[in-house]
Structure formats: structure tokens, C-alpha cells
Amino acid sequence: MFRQASRLVSRSITAKSATNRAFSTEVPSTIDSSFVEAWKKVAPNMDPPQTPSSFMKPRPSTASSIPTKLTVNFVLPYASELSGKEVDMVIIPATTGQMGVLPGHVPTIAELKPGIMSVHEGTDIKKYFVSSGFAFLHANSVADIIAVEAVPLENIDASQVQKGLAEFTQKLASATTDLEKAEAQIGVEVHSAMNAALSG
């Protein structure tokens, strides 16, 4: 009986291979009715098998019209800096450059480089220096930004930044192994970013 079932499954799969499968967000419960009928014919006393998507919660649906505000969750390992805050725009320091995120942004996962993240709410702009992290932009205009360390710009000491920059530039010049070079380069990048943040 089970040998027959696998033949039925493969038959229904090949029949459907020409059609495009919809994403799970668009068709929340795709139950292949022809498969279920064929199953019931062969094994009427057994429930048709469940698929992984039937155990999953459907993803939050994308609103048909673009929402007016972006919901930002900005978290650090030791604190939740912003939680569900509704803002107009955030500009995040992605590795590909400063990325402006408005409500209705294309779903994106962006790796962040050391740089300034600014949160725009009306005329208020709050700036943080982010050490590194990720930003997850979802289809429903929710942005999850995670960083290991993020500080408001006022809390950075300019003289320490200059000292660090000089120290790491010197280390980069004198580094021998690949690892040392990488560490020195990271130091140079982070300190130059902080420098630019303080002066820009």
C-alpha cells in the first residue's frame, strides 16, 4: 500500500512541476486537493501527511497599502534601545553604504559596518554610532536592527579616537601575519569611522 502511495506522490509532483508555487505568505494554507483525494482513495483511514508549512505560523501579511510609519526595533545584547518605535525613516550604515529605510522598503537583510545610524522622527534626528551588526527589513515595514555596541555620538571621546587611529595605523604598517594585519585593519576602519562620525 505504501509503495503505491509513493507512486501517487511522485505522479502528482510531476504533474505540478510545470506550475509555479506561490510563496507561503500569499497562500497561507496550500492544501493540494488532488493529492488529498488520491490519498483518501488509497488509504482512507489514514490522515494525509502534513507538510512543514502547515505547522508554521503564517508570516504577517504585507499590508496592501504602504504604511505611513516604519516600526523600528533596535536591540543590543544588554539593552533594548528602541522597541516598536514608530518613525519616519532610519539611515543605517550598511556595508554597501548608507542605506535609507522608509516604510514599504523592499525586504532586505543588510550587514552593518561601523558607522552612524540615524533615526528620523518628524524633525527629531537621533544618531548612534554602531560598532557592527545586522539590519533585517521586513515586508510589513518593521525594521529589526541588532548591534553589539551602539553609543550616542556625544559619548565618544575624540582624543581617544585620534590616539587609537594613530596606534592602529602604526600597527598596520608593522604587522607581519595575516591575522595581525586583519586586526590592525579593523582598528583603522573602526577609528576612522568614529572620526568621520564626530567631524561629519
Partner: protein, 70 residues
């Protein structure tokens, strides 16, 4: 099948992302003004105890800690 994707320089040098991220965070913490710096340095402290297991029982644990006197 060698992948020709461009890797970041730290990955090419054998570093993982988490190491890179922690180094960046430490550098930023070092450039904070006082007294935030003291609080921040607290976050860098690590305390863990390691024990090897032999015959189903843990042996004497090895302690690695930044907090003195532990």
C-alpha cells in the same frame, strides 16, 4: 568548485564574524568618555568555568575569570 565570491578581509585572514564584531565593539567601548567607559568595560568581562568529563563525572573545573578573587 572554488567559490569566487569576494570575502571580507577578516574572513580571508581566518577570523569569524563574531570575532570581528567583538573586536569592533571593544574598540568602540575603549573610546567612550568617563564614566560610561567604566560601565562599558564591565560588559567585556568574561567569567566561565570549564570541566572535563571522565567516566560520566565532571573533573575539577578550570575557572577563567576577569573578576579577581574568584
Amino acid at each position: 568548485m572554488a567559490s569566487t565570491a569576494a570575502v571580507p578581509f577578516w574572513r580571508a585572514a581566518g577570523m569569524t564574524y563574531i570575532t570581528y564584531s567583538n573586536i569592533c565593539a571593544n574598540l568602540v567601548r575603549n573610546c567612550l568618555k568617563e564614566p560610561l567607559k567604566a560601565e562599558a568595560l564591565n560588559r567585556e568581562k568574561v567569567h566561565f568555568s570549564l570541566s572535563k568529563w571522565a567516566g560520566g563525572k565532571p573533573e575539577k573545573p578550570i575557572l577563567r575569570s576577569d573578576t579577581p578573587g574568584v
